[in-house]
């Protein structure tokens, strides 16, 4: 994990430089995109082959984002093979590795949704890692621009007021022992450190969610390593397998080392 974190930071520095020079890569051609993906692939999965995700993983995102700061994406992994984790890479973002989920014994990894920022016309990749260590990739091209430098919210102070508040709700009919989809909402501005105040010439300091741990009755559902590419007030939809009654616990840690945790009774009263 240490090397991945290092890589993330290195990638951030490199792309920040490009980001500041001029207009995004909107006119990029396919060859340049393929080159970038090759580089990223080497950096994130050195020496490991990536297989076509075909029947195992599918990535869905709107072809043209309605709001670049809040692009909903869906990852389907219904191919049958047991999945250990999934990576989300947004090639054109300043920090391309947006999320890495590691699934635990309580998870149903067949479907995952989240909201991300997209800074330019870019390819997006979702890579499933199976229990036997194979990697399967799905790709989607998204037209969006400005999600990373567009202001996080109307008011920085107000954004921090409510930080760490959480909500959880279940989708569909609850049945013990049957897979269930849960929607987790976390209030967090996820400041990415790229918004400059033109009067003070200072950037709003970065403050973003580094990890989220979701457990059910003490067993892990997922561990998420995330980064500045998650939207403000992240929303994550994930699957888990509940008993008749139990506690779901969520622990969120951010880059300022603040920890927020919340327990939910499932199903709620």
């Amino acid at each position: 994990m240490g090397s991945v974190r290092y890589l993330l930071l290195a990638a951030l520095v490199v792309s920040m430089a490009q980001f500041c020079v001029g207009p995004a890569y909107a006119d990029d051609d396919e060859a340049a995109r393929a080159d970038r993906w090759k580089d990223l692939q080497q950096a994130i999965f050195p020496g490991r082959p990536l297989k076509d995700g075909g029947g195992l993983i599918r990535l869905d995102a709107p072809p043209r984002a309605l709001d670049a700061a809040l692009v909903p994406i869906t990852i389907d992994m219904t191919g049958g093979k047991r999945v250990k984790g999934v990576y989300v890479v947004i090639d054109g973002n300043p920090s391309p590795l947006a999320a890495h989920f590691t699934f635990g014994p309580k998870a149903d990894p067949s479907s995952l949704k989240m909201r991300v920022r997209v800074d330019q016309y870019t390819n997006m990749h979702a890579i499933a890692e199976t229990q036997d260590g194979q990697l399967f990739v799905a790709t989607k091209f998204v037209k969006a621009a400005g999600g990373c430098s567009a202001p996080a919210g109307a008011d920085d102070d107000a954004a921090l007021e409510d930080i760490g508040r959480m909500k959880l709700h279940l989708i569909g009919d609850f049945a013990a022992g049957k897979s269930e989809q849960a929607v987790l909402m976390v209030r967090h501005p996820n400041f990415n450190g790229m918004q400059m105040n033109q009067i003070t010439r200072y950037y709003t300091p970065p403050r973003f969610i580094r990890t989220i741990d979701a457990t059910y009755e003490g067993g892990s559902i997922f561990h998420l390593d995330s980064d500045i590419s998650l939207s403000t007030d992240p929303v994550i939809t994930f699957g888990f397998v509940p008993q008749a009654k139990g506690q779901m616990k969520i622990i969120v840690r951010d880059s300022k080392d603040a920890t927020f945790d919340h327990s939910f009774a499932v199903p709620g009263v």
Partner: protein, 319 residues
């Protein structure tokens, strides 16, 4: 003023819009600024409005997509929204200079969006008060440079205009006197944006709410849906004969002219709430909410999904 000239200009403008819609995207960029004289409509005595095009910003339209204009008093002129780019502002200034020699003392900047205020720099030589909502400087600090860059990507380098910061801030209410003609200014709570300023010309009973009022062009939500409905309600209680929408026709009867907007916003509110209650995802809500409004608005497909996204984000924490 020569009517013939104005008609020609208007026709030129219209054909310009048409050419733009039909031609390929990469239009040659003009290198020199060319101020022209707009065809204005006098919606009430001394209130002149330029009808914005129902398009998004392009090289050809110079971001002249908002309704902008000026009010002439006995002693001076107030500009109410200086335009969408430096060139758009220069053209408005040339238009004013052809209509009157009175000094331009006030330039009202109705809110932070570029299509309304990037023309402000064209008026700097008049040394007016640049009037804005008390929250406008903050909004400009957060977004001004970002908007300028995006606008330059569309219009070409140096053609967006610099960001102008307001010099006279309105906290709640304020008045400016153009000489026997008092304009009442109101700084609104979060609505279309978080820095909307409206103007009432008491002499003619004309309300100038800028983008708090969209007519026929689909509204764009960038503040708070609930807040906008609240502020719209307050404006509908204002005694005025007519209103000048920020987008759409240059004048509508008031308060009836606000009914379509109220219906649209209420529909988005009601249907987004229902979608959230049903446990619908954001991507599904975007496909379904307010689709019944589709045939009633221009550019509906370009903005409705964005509006629903904003509404969803605002409302999902309520329930």
């Amino acid at each position: 003023m020569a009517d013939g000239l104005l008609m020609t200009r208007r026709r030129a403008l219209l054909s310009g819009a048409c050419a733009c819609l039909c031609s390929v995207r990469a239009l040659p960029q003009r290198t020199q600024s060319a101020a022209r004289v707009f065809a204005m409509e006098e919606v009430a005595a001394g209130i002149h409005v330029r009808r914005g095009l129902d398009e998004d910003a392009t090289t050809r339209n110079e971001d002249g997509i908002a309704n902008i204009g000026f009010i002439v008093g006995r002693d001076c002129v107030a500009v109410i929204d200086p335009g969408g780019s430096l060139n758009d502002g220069q053209s408005l200034r040339a238009t004013i200079r052809q209509a009157t020699r009175l000094p331009i003392r006030y330039v009202v900047m109705s809110h932070v969006h570029p299509d309304h205020i990037f023309g402000a720099a064209a008026f700097e030589e008049d040394k007016p008060q640049f009037v804005g909502h008390a929250r406008l400087p903050r909004a400009l600090a957060l977004r001004g440079e970002y908007y300028r860059k995006r606008l330059e990507e569309v219009l070409g380098k140096e053609r967006a205009g610099p960001v102008v910061t307001p010099t006279m801030l309105v906290q709640d209410h304020a008045e400016v006197d153009l000489g026997g003609r008092v304009l009442a200014l109101t700084a609104h709570g979060i609505a279309h944006t978080d820095c909307d300023l409206s103007v009432i010309d008491r002499a003619t009973g004309t309300l100038l709410p800028a983008d708090l009022l969209f007519v026929r062009r689909v509204p764009a939500l960038d503040g708070s849906l609930k807040g906008w409905l609240k502020q719209l309600g307050a404006l509908q209680a204002v005694r005025a004969r007519r209103a000048v929408p920020g987008h759409g026709p240059t004048s509508v009867d008031w308060p009836t002219g606000g009914q379509d907007l109220e219906r649209y916003l209420s529909t988005v509110l009601r249907e987004t709430k229902a979608a959230i209650t049903k446990g619908m995802d954001l991507d599904a809500a975007v496909q379904t909410v307010a689709q019944g409004e589709r045939s009633r608005w221009k550019l509906f497909d370009d903005y409705n999904g964005h509006n629903v996204t904003q509404a969803f984000k605002e409302l999902e924490w309520d329930q």
